[in-house]
Symmetry: C2
Subunit: 359 residues, 2 copies
């Protein structure tokens, strides 16, 4: 579960020990309806209930904690939102100054939360390169280090602790995981999941929005491939390229990448809300959408006795988006057969081939 | 924590031991935003994440389990929804037949869930007397006992285990409860809470919708008072009269009853959804609405260092209701100051006197 990649040490169990008591031990949730749809036992790790509303709190606390211990007085972060909020909260906990760089189209909820945590918020364009450039400039000006959202060993180790807890809790419940499904933005979470699952025989799958599939393309090409992300409701899964360190970790460890579309993410969102009574952000719901794509009949997992773990990575979503996703479901239900219509109705062979399991 | 009321033994700790491993140990959630609004540390016991979507599962499993052990082959229940769903699920687990009597205007979600659990669903009018009469008739016809939704020692003991877990978890976290707030329908939950809190010094408050305040009026009158329930979004809190056994338990034990209106319940619903990322049904959110009424400035709890426990009793709500409550919030935010506008903007002295803490 710890691994050295080009001299970089990423130690998930060590991060888990350090984070114990510093983050919430989030619950693992289940629903008979979801099990039925997935054709498997699905265990969902509710990191939307984590401090700061996402599992990004784990990596942020771990890395900011180390920087504070090393004597730094401030930190800088850039992200589409959750990592920035998490770094702001982590910095406040360690009494460090925080500056966060957000895109111009960042979700108002995430902007408000970063500010409420006491961070200085600055905006830079809409793509990751613009944010990275401004963060580097601010770092040069202030001397404060940048905490990268995914290309950072402490962040990957921290994110991996969510998967590690899920693996342990599944084991303790007598239903050890056969597969683990994690949404992919820059790849920090899936890299952490691969490390947490190393040596266990658990198959790790990443999930990407269909038009934001840098990891799937990179795995196919054998090297990192940059994509021009297409619009998706999963605002946290839009990086144009998977991180260097995450890719080095996952390239030989991940079982595959599942591509999902916005309809599938919206259907997963509604299942989580109506069946599990929790609110996920679309990026967080993407993991369940991926797990449902693994269902028997979709070509990947033939065995209903399997146990599939899913990390619900976050829950920071606008009220307007919640209402929109629910209204979308109502419109769909009128023309299909209920909340899971999008998932099951959408599986002709072409769609499965085009959007199914890669690598 | 166990009490004998007119020869009826209600033993919460014994029910807790029996239920351990049979129900989910639901998490206790917190939010800095909610703490700020309440002027207290607020610990929320998320029974909306319980099996069956509500804490009613506890009392139903306990009572149906005993009936199964006594050799019964079927059970009958009546309720506005959650108790019926819980009894249906409990009966299925114990391989008993279940017939549930619902009102004609029952929420479609609850009807579907009762049917999905294998229960026979029959409908009777819209008030409790009609359902009680039909349940008694069905019991006479079949010989199957009625599991009352609240006037039953095993149901009260089962419901009380949610409060007991919250009390224990608060203690373990080093933040023992000063007050415990529970929504009141027929009074089973608040009676269980009073028993769970007996001898601890914890003040127990019930919460009733303003026009469905049978317990508040009964406490004032010194005897059970039937009301004509006015419409409320909290469909689970509409019984016209508090149960006989619950009233006998709570009359000298409860600290007071807090009356809340639909705007306050809706504001609490939105706080739970946006801050805690969980979906409560309006009846479940009523507890938080009550706790916010206890806030300093609303005249009851002057001390920010207090710790207040709230039982989020259930989460079985229609998608359309979720959308409606969110839309209501958006309209409100446009003319007020954000999600808590209803709670804070609504506190002139008259309103506090009319809707504040009774008894």
């Amino acid at each position: 579960m710890s691994r050295t990649v080009d001299q970089v040490r990423v130690d998930v169990p060590e991060a888990a020990r350090w984070l114990a008591g510093r983050v919430a031990r989030t619950p693992v949730l289940r629903s008979p309806v979801i099990d039925e749809l997935a054709g498997a036992r699905v265990l969902l790790k509710a990191e939307n209930l984590q401090h700061g509303g996402s599992y990004k709190m784990r990596g942020a606390l771990r890395s900011v904690g180390r920087l504070a211990a090393a004597g730094h007085t401030g930190v800088i972060a850039q992200s589409t939102g959750n990592h920035a909020v998490a770094v702001a909260l982590a910095a406040r906990r360690h009494k460090l100054a925080a500056t966060v760089v957000l895109p111009l189209d960042a979700s108002p909820t995430k902007i408000d939360r970063a500010r409420a945590a006491g961070a200085r918020v600055v905006f830079a364009g809409t793509d990751v390169q613009e944010r990275v450039a401004l963060a580097a400039e601010l770092s040069d000006d202030t001397g404060h280090p940048v905490v990268d959202a995914y290309d950072h060993p402490d962040v990957i180790a921290g994110q991996g602790t969510a998967s590690l807890e899920l693996i342990e809790e599944a084991e303790r419940a007598g239903t050890p995981l056969d597969a683990l499904v994690v949404p992919v933005g820059g790849g920090g979470g899936v890299a952490g999941a691969c490390l947490a699952a190393a040596g266990t025989g658990i198959e790790v799958y990443g999930v990407e929005p269909a038009g934001c599939d840098s990891l799937a393309r990179s795995l196919a090409a054998g090297e990192r491939v940059t994509v021009a992300p297409t619009p998706t409701i999963a605002d946290g899964l839009r990086p144009s390229c998977v991180g260097e360190l995450p890719f080095a970790i996952v390239r030989d460890a991940v079982r595959g990448v599942i591509r999902v579309d916005d309809d599938e993410i919206a259907a997963a969102f509604r299942l989580l809300l109506m069946e599990l009574k929790v609110v996920a952000e679309p990026s967080g719901a993407a993991g369940l959408a991926g797990a449902l794509r693994l269902a028997p009949g979709n070509g990947a997992l033939p065995d209903r006795r399997r146990t599939v773990g899913v990390v619900l990575t976050g829950g920071n979503v606008e009220a307007a988006m919640v209402a929109r996703l629910l209204a979308h479901g109502a419109a769909e239900a009128a023309s299909a057969q209920g909340p899971a219509g999008a998932t099951t109705a959408q599986g002709p062979a072409e769609a499965t081939a085009a959007q199914g399991v890669a690598a």
